[in-house]
């Protein structure tokens, strides 16, 4: 249990640093900055206290906001996916999450991918709607959600396969 807290704190700090120091400066094709810090919400233990999870996600978003001068829109979108994460899990994994023995690593590749992709798409949709803040630019919002969402999914999958293999 103690070990679990420790791992999460390290993850929290490292993901913030990697996000703001590397991925916020990527500017691939001029505008694609993938958001890998969403992995924190993907990796976070399922059976932990839900209120603490929402609070932590808010803090995570807020730190990213501080570093990237984006007011508080990272915080708003991260807290949104933190709140709806159980609903997404129920949709993707079905009744399996009710069992005590449920672990993310025991699920199929397709389920893991869908879970991650849904988290990222909802996050990006909220984020870019708030950032651009006008429905006149809905095409721009869609373009950004699709392009940056695809980049985020690819990078998150890479990070996921790099860092969670030894849990098996």
């Amino acid at each position: 249990m103690n070990n679990n807290y420790f791992v999460n704190i390290i993850r929290f700090v490292l993901l913030i640093l990697v996000q703001v120091l590397v991925f916020n400066r990527l500017n691939f094709f001029g505008f694609i900055n993938p958001m890998v810090y969403i992995l924190f919400l993907y990796w976070f233990p399922i059976k932990e206290n839900r209120a603490a999870f929402i609070g932590l996600s808010f803090l995570l978003g807020l730190f990213i906001d501080l570093f990237s001068d984006t007011m508080a829109i990272h915080a708003a979108s991260t807290v949104t996916i933190a709140y709806i994460r159980p609903a997404i899990m129920r949709f993707v994994f079905g009744v399996n999450i009710e069992f005590q023995s449920f672990r993310l690593s025991n699920t199929t590749r397709a389920q893991q991918f869908t879970f991650l992709a849904l988290l990222i798409i909802v996050h990006h949709a909220v984020f870019f709607t708030l950032e651009i803040f006008s429905f006149a630019n809905i095409l721009l919002i869609l373009k950004k959600v699709v392009a940056i969402g695809a980049a985020s999914i690819i990078l998150c999958l890479l990070f996921n396969s790099l860092f969670s293999a030894k849990k098996e």
Partner: protein, 272 residues
């Protein structure tokens, strides 16, 4: 009463979510208005020092390129000095000067968002305050928006909130410089009347009417212009001299007469 408490306990996660979402939206909406983004910017000490530490590593890779740029600028300034009038040297008495210049370095830059901010490693300790202009050796960069002890966040000209007075170098007609958030090397000059003769390649410089920037600081050249027939005003695409993706050394300009100008302007408005 019991039911209300039960309701709160049952929905505590949803209420917590709503509460945090409203906090976040509150901060966001509040910082949409100018000078309100006081807490949410990267000029505070935590983010400033993290950026500065990691910037220390990456700076080494660009040192020779930066030196070349600075030598080039020194060459240009020496040329001006040797070919100019002799009295320029004697008038360098610091109490007589209108503008004072501070140097600084960029620790964080962004150009891919609709509202871009740049963080520099100069703050209140170096007498850098909000509303000072920031330029590079090639052209203008932005205006200081917030300062902390040793860092300042600069509203880049690549920011949809930015509005800077600019003019055509050869005809002195002035307009406003804005950004349509599309490309990081092109900004727009608006409010130029249709009677002004324009050609592609004309130089755009600062207008010097804003008490922030002195006049005649280079901005860019005209890339393309369209006439808006409804308003008979031009909308002009300006290609920047600055490469906004690669900025290291900056100059911060303080106008010593700024307070006096603002007081005079306020007094004039009040009389009307």
């Amino acid at each position: 009463m019991q039911q209300i408490i039960n309701f709160v306990i049952r929905n505590k996660n949803f209420l917590l979510y709503l509460f945090l979402l409203f906090i976040a939206l509150g901060f966001t909406v509040q910082s949409h208005s100018y000078h309100q983004s006081r807490f949410f910017n990267s000029s505070n000490w935590i983010t400033g020092s993290v950026y500065e530490t990691f910037n220390g590593f990456s700076t080494y890779f660009g040192l020779s390129e930066e030196n070349a740029k600075l030598v080039e600028e020194n060459k240009r300034l020496r040329k001006l000095l040797f070919n100019g009038q002799k009295e320029t040297l004697s008038s360098l008495d610091s109490t007589q000067l209108i503008y004072t210049i501070t140097t600084g370095q960029v620790v964080k830059n962004s150009y891919a968002e609709p509202r871009n901010y740049i963080t520099i490693n100069r703050g209140i300790k170096d007498s850098v305050f909000p509303d000072m202009g920031v330029i590079t050796e090639k052209g203008i960069l932005g205006i200081v928006e917030n300062t902390s002890g040793s860092y300042a966040s600069v509203q880049s000209i690549l920011n949809e909130k930015s509005r800077i007075n600019a003019k055509l170098k050869n005809t002195e007609h002035f307009g406003s410089l804005v950004w349509d958030t599309q490309r990081y090397n092109v900004v727009q000059l608006v409010d130029i009347p249709r009677l002004v003769p324009l050609t592609v390649g004309d130089t755009i410089v600062t207008g010097g009417m804003s008490s922030i920037f002195p006049g005649n600081i280079p901005i860019g050249t005209i890339q393309k212009f369209d006439l808006d027939t409804a308003n008979s005003l031009y909308s002009i695409d300006v290609r920047l001299f600055n490469d906004m993706t690669n900025i290291k050394n900056v100059y911060i300009i303080d106008n010593n007469d700024r307070k006096e100008i603002l007081e005079l302007e306020a007094a004039t408005v009040n009389e009307q």
